[in-house]
Symmetry: C2
Subunit: 265 residues, 2 copies
Amino acid sequence: MTDTEPLLLTLAAPAFDARSLRPIWKQIADRLHSACADGLLLGDARLPGEIRMAEIFGVTRVTMRRALARLQQEGILQARKGVGIFVRPMPLRYRLDHGNRFADGLDPPAAKIGATTLAMERGQAEAEEAEALHLSPGDAVIRLTRLRVVDDAPVYLSRKTFPADTLPRFEAAYAARSSVRDVFEAHGIAGYRRVQTRVSGGFATDAEAVALRLSPRTPVLRTVALNAAPDGRIIEYSLGTWPLTAVELVLTPYDPSQTEPFDAD
Amino acid sequence: MTDTEPLLLTLAAPAFDARSLRPIWKQIADRLHSACADGLLLGDARLPGEIRMAEIFGVTRVTMRRALARLQQEGILQARKGVGIFVRPMPLRYRLDHGNRFADGLDPPAAKIGATTLAMERGQAEAEEAEALHLSPGDAVIRLTRLRVVDDAPVYLSRKTFPADTLPRFEAAYAARSSVRDVFEAHGIAGYRRVQTRVSGGFATDAEAVALRLSPRTPVLRTVALNAAPDGRIIEYSLGTWPLTAVELVLTPYDPSQTEPFDAD
DNA sequence: CAGTGGTCTAGACCACATG
DNA sequence: ATGTGGTCTAGACCACTGG
């Protein structure tokens, strides 16, 4: 972990334009933003404390905080109370072909892709889940919460719901490789397809913020995906949350010739 | 324009929880948020000045501003320098079937839908436009900038690019009803279809903020749409910007049986 | 001109995480 | 115990908009 203070000193060196042209806090934010974009500040780097940074940039702590707040809102920095302020590892924006296997859809291809299973539980279908899966409220379902990490940056939090009676051996089939596709195949389902994708925007809940390492109420992208088995039965209802600028979702009309099964992401 | 001060006084009446439980500025923001959501504060209502509101809620102007800033970031309020703070008319989140005619895709159906043509010009294709339209950079194109307003709230800013040689009588055909679909039909193109939709998130540029009546750098949803004529030629490249929480885009795989032409939105 | 929102400062207290 | 980020105040000056 290299010391970021020397770099910040160089960033603060050029005098700021007279105030009222562009607010100082925006100018500070701009310089920090550029430094991150140019790779001068790498992911997970720790910045000096707010008071120190205020000194470096020659402003009050309040003003410094405004700049930092803006960068947190944009998902570039992330403050942790009692710990410090860190550069959030931000992959360039990946283009993701939604409806393909997660890894294959990434453009450019990422060096490291990881998936963490945060929770797996059986429960009863809520109203929305029931409607999406064509079940009755209260029917048995399996819920899976996972986090996708690309190049050290958490980029995708998903909560998937499956009909329990269709996939009785879910846990066992999933355990081996943490793959939803394996589960489907273990139950004789291959070649399932995306039936619908919905995209909306919102603000991260506390839980989402923690998982994605964002500040609370940071803007996010939300996806709702419905996957169906070849016979048309909906077998997966998936809610996804993405940091706003992490991805560009590409949605191409379904081409019957392309029946390649995909990983349920 | 009713006076909003009495309502705010009732909102401020209940004492705030001891600080450090939940920050006062968040509590204030919560109450204002609820008031808007519950319809107590209607669109375009003007709030009292910051100093007055600070009095009403019993806090400093700085604290009051934090609450207001949050609500602006979420697109609920909109401050205009030298004028005042206004409630942004926020339609409920509309579900929009992207790839249909704008009006038909809205769910629930809106009472009032309007479209304003902000700019129409001929120019030379930029690199991105050229690639999307299968042209060479510098080829003649027509650009159209429009704003969609639903129930008094601006919800969709679009910049569309068309190949000029394919649509020589663009201006004349568009003039009558401000309809892109008319233009296509006037050139013998009917039944065009959505080839690709891309969705990403970002922060409003100054121009976008003005058009959509948002504060600068408010989070937004961005769409890129490619429409093709029946023969497969790409005839429209469309960039769209939406307030983050204004819509939910629904993307269903292309169904060949549904060849209904749609309005190019 | 008066009123409005936008920016900035100086100083204080608190809650949290770490050693 | 220390240092960190989070919150709040009091007071000031500026720039924009409108009548």
